[in-house]
């Protein structure tokens, strides 16, 4: 363990994402790598698996991916598979793929075909939130539990699960507190700092993550000099961002990222798991219905406006609370899930007077520089 604290510690973990996991493994612990925000962390934690979010690497040139995936595929998951084929995740004890989107689904399959972990499971996630879907999803979670138990050497009982739920709910509330520090002007944290903290806590056990979050909150709360006051207070919406090269570029151009709705950011943490009698009920409802991501189809409403409010209303709230004056749509190229939403959401937000910047990016740090002009022009136009 390191003696760094707070943000410095977060930055350290961010840079060496798998170090803590490997330490834990060396100490006899187990690590479960998972895709996206759908596999329930509580299940892993309760069975003493340390959950590790599987991410790509924007700095790594793609050399292996094209052998397994066509170029028309989501750039993020291409990178994920590329690094995995190079052995970056060879140490994990369990692999949990998920049907988050087509990209995640097919890469889960391909991963399972070529990389054999001691335990692996593909979690099917229905696209609708009907009662039947939640029931089916609950069953899938139970199968996941069964599969993990085989290698965990123990069974998860209700009590253990409930404890894990409480632990992770605490993490969620801490993350929300962290974001709330950005409500004022200037915001207390930069988007890059938040990103580092979030990635850090996705790469260490929940207990340590909670301690880290508390340290960071204490450190930041009393800050005099946070990020610069800038004209742009933006909301980032869309496909995930997992490298500060991108957030750094955005902030460099005169924009503060004060809040986001992406899969590394708020989406993974915004809502709690209800403490239900059967913990699996709470998990199924939370992960399938309450996590808001355009990958889940929500039945259409009577009118279009009602439908849009139903799908995007929460963004309006975020905009208000964080006093946002511009929105950046971060679209990883070939991301269908977010791609289809662009025209609708753009009009919706412009309708409440927010300028919107849409960029389709290639998930590669080398391709970032040409985006500078766009962010700069956007910044010049805000406020």
């Amino acid at each position: 363990m390191s003696d760094l604290k707070g943000l410095a510690r977060a930055a350290q973990i961010y840079r060496g994402r798998h170090e803590r996991a490997k330490e834990i493994k060396a100490g006899g612990g187990k690590v479960a790598g998972y895709f996206c925000c759908y596999p329930p962390l509580e299940l892993m934690t309760s069975l003493d698996y340390m959950p590790l979010r599987i991410l790509g690497d924007m700095n790594e040139p793609l050399t292996e991916a094209d052998t397994y995936l066509p170029t028309a595929m989501c750039c993020f998951y291409r990178s994920v598979l590329d690094t995995a084929m190079k052995g970056r995740f060879d140490f994990i004890d369990a692999f949990i793929g998920a049907h988050a989107c087509d990209g995640a689904e097919r890469v889960s399959y391909i991963w399972k075909s070529y990389l054999k972990s001691p335990c692996s499971f593909y979690l099917d996630v229905p696209h609708t939130n009907h009662a039947a879907s939640i029931e089916l999803f609950k069953k899938q979670l139970m199968y996941l539990g069964e599969e993990l138990e085989k290698t965990a050497g123990k069974k998860a009982n209700r009590e253990m699960l409930k404890q894990a739920v409480a632990l992770h709910n605490k993490q969620r509330s801490l993350v929300r507190r962290l974001y709330s520090l950005n409500k004022g002007d200037p915001p207390l944290m930069s988007g890059s700092e938040i990103l580092q903290v979030l990635i850090a806590i996705m790469c260490i056990p929940a207990v340590e993550g909670n301690a880290l979050l508390e340290e960071v909150i204490e450190e930041v709360k009393v800050r005099a000099g946070g990020p610069k006051q800038r004209k742009g207070r933006i909301l980032v919406w869309g496909s995930l961002i997992d490298d500060i090269a991108l957030t750094g570029l955005i902030e460099d151009c005169g924009l503060n990222i004060v809040i986001d709705d992406t899969a590394i950011g708020t989406r993974s943490f915004w809502v709690d798991v209800d403490e239900t009698e059967d913990p699996f009920d709470g998990l199924a409802i939370r992960y399938l219905d309450k996590v808001v991501c355009p990958r889940t189809f929500r039945d259409t409403k009577q009118t279009r406006m009602e439908d849009l409010d139903n799908r995007f209303g929460y963004l309006k709230k975020m905009v208000k609370e964080w006093n946002v004056n511009g929105v950046y749509f971060n679209i990883i190229r070939n991301c269908d899930i977010h791609g289809y939403e662009i025209p609708e959401l753009r009009d919706y937000l412009e309708g409440i007077g927010l300028p919107v910047l849409v960029i389709e990016q290639d998930y590669s740090t080398t391709a970032l520089e040409p985006l500078r002009t766009r962010f700069q022009a956007f910044a010049e136009n805000i406020g």
Partner: protein, 261 residues
Amino acid sequence: MLYKAGLDIGSVMAKAVIMDDRDILSYSIRPINGNFAAAAGAVLEETLAKAGLFLEKLDVIGSTGLGASFLSCPHMEITDVACQGRGINYLFPSARMVIEVGDQSSRVIKLTEKGKIADCIINDRCAAGSGRILQIIAKVLRININELGGLSLKSTNSVRFSTGCSVFAETEAISRIAEGTKMEDIIAGLHYAMAIKIYGMAQKAKLEDICAFTGGGAKNLGLVKMIGETIGKNLLVPEEPFITGAIGAALMALEKAGSPC
């Protein structure tokens, strides 16, 4: 004695060889300069002259490349992938994989022991990764294309290029120059970007132990070294990489013609 000629009328270079039953008698290479028909005629004539032969003496002529159809005398057109494969097989019978960096495309060809194509990966939708960028960059740096390789070998700190568009790579290079980056680091960076692209292609076809490298790009020793290091193999490079396609064309023309009449 049978005499066969092979022509490879590429996009920038016209290449010709004349062979007898066993050996290469002569070859010649000249730039196309926009006139395919003229270049094809001239390069053939030149090669004939070097070999001391006349057109009538040739039993068969095989042609390949983008401009093959501009050849005016009777000839047999053959696809360039097959020609490169056969040409390399003639020069390096042990090679099981050919990497070719031409002007318009880069290719990875997997060969059978007979020099037939076992697999082939072509990058030709977009010029990114093709040999053309070498010419462009030489022009930008105001040096001769022959100097690129030597210079890049001096680099100690190559820049990271985005593997993007050849046209944009040019502007990227310009701005690096403006920032004061050393010329050799720019070139090395470019070579690295190309090497990565080629490595990805080679992986698709499953890398083989014995690889040859040909096409105009193989004239560039810096690129040869970089690709060799990136894929972790020693590359066999023909003495004259330009003419492998032409050699293949000559060989295949004979095969296809059966016994000539």
